[in-house]
Symmetry: D2
Subunit: 282 residues, 4 copies
């Protein structure tokens, strides 16, 4: 049975914006000339372009050994107990239906999503992304700082409501001596003993893994009846959103986040002369 919303179903919601979607601001912006079907240009479907560009970006980064790895850290209130190792992320993320390298956690997350669907509900979650082997000093001071450029692209992804690097929001509760990452020498290389900074200081990469976390809100489309307003008749109405909708977009967002980070990094590596043309011509 095809449960995709049919054009007729979208027709019903033309004048009654769905809560949580861009329907209302888009209609006000474009005076009714926007494509309201499925969210139009505000649909999550457009993130396919991120993944296409990300595939090329990852090939460029591969030339100089940089890896970008994203995974589901949390769905609803279920969070992986232990942070996975790089090897675990590489081995298990795409084996998990929810893109979570912790396969026990995967089970609970699958069930939570199923339960949410049954209840006519939806769930959000967190995606974490690591970029490995980024050289020291990537990023431009102030206005093209590496974290700012990454954050911009990540906030361009629909449903993202927060972005943080390293310990992120928690850094605001630490003291300076707790938060500062001490330098040390390990195998002749300068490292930091902790990575609270998430691999970025002053907008520049430190050589440690870049760690960024992205908060996704729960899917806006839920089958439950919701309060809205009929824009034509200017009266309050109820709406029931039809169609086949994911109760949780987080698993699908993992490659999108990964692509977003890869695109920004590839751009900075090209601009900074880190990828010489001789490699590009291979």
């Amino acid at each position: 049975m095809n449960k995709r919303a049919r054009p007729g179903e979208y027709e019903l919601i033309k004048d009654t914006p769905r809560p949580g979607h861009a329907d209302y601001p888009a209609r006000m912006k474009y005076g009714g000339y926007n494509d309201y079907r499925g969210g139009g240009r505000f649909s999550g479907r457009i993130t396919v372009a991120f993944v296409m560009a990300g595939a090329i970006a990852k090939k460029l980064l591969d030339l100089i050994g940089i890896k970008v790895l994203a995974f589901t850290l949390k769905i609803g209130s279920l969070r992986v107990d232990t942070l996975p190792t790089v090897e675990q992320i590489q081995a298990y993320t795409y084996k998990s239906s929810v893109r979570c390298p912790d396969l026990n956690c995967t089970k609970s997350m699958e069930e939570a999503i199923k339960k949410a669907r049954k209840l006519g509900e939806s769930l959000g979650g967190l995606v974490e992304c690591h970029a490995l082997n980024v050289p020291v000093g990537v990023g431009e001071p102030l206005f093209d700082s590496l974290d700012a450029d990454i954050a911009k692209l990540l906030f361009d992804i629909p449903a993202v409501k927060g972005v943080e690097f390293g310990v992120g929001f928690k850094a605001s509760e630490l003291t300076g001596s707790q938060n500062n990452d001490a330098y040390a020498i390990k195998n002749g290389k300068i490292v930091t003993l902790t990575n609270n900074a998430g691999g970025i200081l002053g907008g520049l990469s430190t050589g440690m893994p870049i760690v960024v976390r992205v908060a996704f809100k729960p899917t806006s489309s839920i089958p439950r009846e919701q309060k809205t307003v009929n824009l034509e008749k200017m009266r309050e109405e109820a709406i029931q959103v039809k169609g086949r909708h994911d109760p949780c977009v987080v698993p699908k967002a993992v490659p999108v986040v990964e692509s977003g980070v890869a695109i920004v990094l590839a751009d900075h590596m090209l601009r900074g002369g880190y990828i010489p043309r001789v490699l590009l011509r291979r």
Copy 2:
């Protein structure tokens, strides 16, 4: 007594990067040609430019009734109990030495900062910013979405480690029915009954207040001895950062955040034709 770090003191740290600062990546990026004194172009001092541009941006926004108001929400673990009203933010923020409109909370924050200073420590915190009277539909789809543009400029501010809109990271734990903001009509105007979205859906303003929260890490410069590496001699050393340093940058960051949000909004209002030339010529 002048406690500003003297050039000679910075000289000592030329080869031994201060933890938490951009010293190390900047030196690697610029091969020693960077200005290491006081952080050079990575210093918080450069945010004066944000405030200068912000002053102009706010004048532009004033022409069409938009207000941008930031305040200290939290310092270390001290958070205002009750969110202040717009009137309270306007009346009390700049009466508070820590830019917190809750004057009781201000006292505790002042003490926490004093205590941190005594301990040779530093504190971080949260700044919250509200933009009022932004019309519906401001922002461009996908790559110049309003939240992405705001986030980029906020992450350009030194010491920022996280940015979130509306309920932000907490949205990841809510269900769809909890998180979606229902539409209603109030005094003939379309509003949402809650503002979990922080005034932005699909990268467009909803007409509700834009609410953004910014996480600042604790000041990197602390008088305590810290582990670092001598880059010339390639050996581990200890460093004690000299000079007069704020144990908490959050109060100073309030006008910077406010300016950042105002700059992005003014830019979008100009581009979108919201500020007609006839107003600009007044």
Copy 3:
């Protein structure tokens, strides 16, 4: 009989770049992954996008009374005797097969093109464009000056080899007193008695008509045998370009130039607040 080049015909030229086309640099740039058929992304066909965007730009400019009018000034060595008036440009340009408002001249141009075709040759020419009713002061100082922005977009059009404003290159031979446009008052409005500047001073519009002239080279595709190099065999060869080709692109370039100028103007008018949102919403 369909004389469009067939895929097989383009196949023949894959390794033997056509003189005057981007074939050779494109192949060197993309390592053979470029689409060589018909010039691919370097084809004049892509200028259809200019015309599409130009149609929207002209609608925006219409809201505030700005008109943009381009026409064929010269084909090969045939130039209109007398500069046409605005009324003539509007009335006759699109009545002329070669987009020249001088209908006598049109005849000679048509014949020159026919003759060129018979000889296996091609012709270039000049397109002139006037923008009327542009307010005084449009353009941003130095790096977004109005002439620079217009020139950039015009040089993006394939086959353009020169751009000049007002008297243009001839200004280099005039003296200051000959070239400077004296100010006067006419019907209560400030005007210049001449318009040698082509309506732009210091990168800003002067309120006089903006006048820009664009030089197009003769069509690169000619049926005559030409010398080239076989890139695979690294030996000199002869090539005969097949397919149906215009012996003169100038008439087709007229709407493209017009669109290019309109796009830049619309952009500047929006950024400068000249088109208020209230007009955009109509």
Copy 4:
């Protein structure tokens, strides 16, 4: 005797815009808040920034063997008889007071400028610029084409009224077989037998020297009385521009044009990966 215009002298022209200068549009744009002294931000003095950035750009281009060489081709009606060779440009341009590598021509140009000064007049001219050893394929298709980017920066230079590449405007009078540059092999390298294209096809470099010509109008400031309008009193008046003014800016424009071309090339070389980071770190 100091002949620089004194502030008082500029005061006199505050309300009476000098013909040929940006005074009038600038005042209309900024509502009188512009700096009218000496042209303010519209002054030729600001091109010092081009030369500063150009110095860095040339150092970058040096790393990969690219040379950029500009010279005075023409002043008023005096044009060099024979195009100078690269060696002549390098040897003589900066030996000539007018930056013309033809030292006989230099004499006549010097006299022409002296004569213009005596007559209270000014002269314009042409600057030609060659970029050598640019690899094949530099430039991005359509919207960042190499010629468009160069033209934009050149039109940003005050007093520029025209830009052309290769044979430029003359191309519009040639036939296809005359204008197309035939390919050949010379010393195992692919070259074109002529360089009518000025080293750029389809917005990409061809490997041949990039040749661009820039038309400068005569200096706008001339001591002769000129007609203008008093903007405050809205009546026609005469103005006599005081101060020490060059009767010809062309010699000073030579390093500015050279810098403009170098800046664009350095930018494209960095973006294209032609300057690997290992060279940048030397």
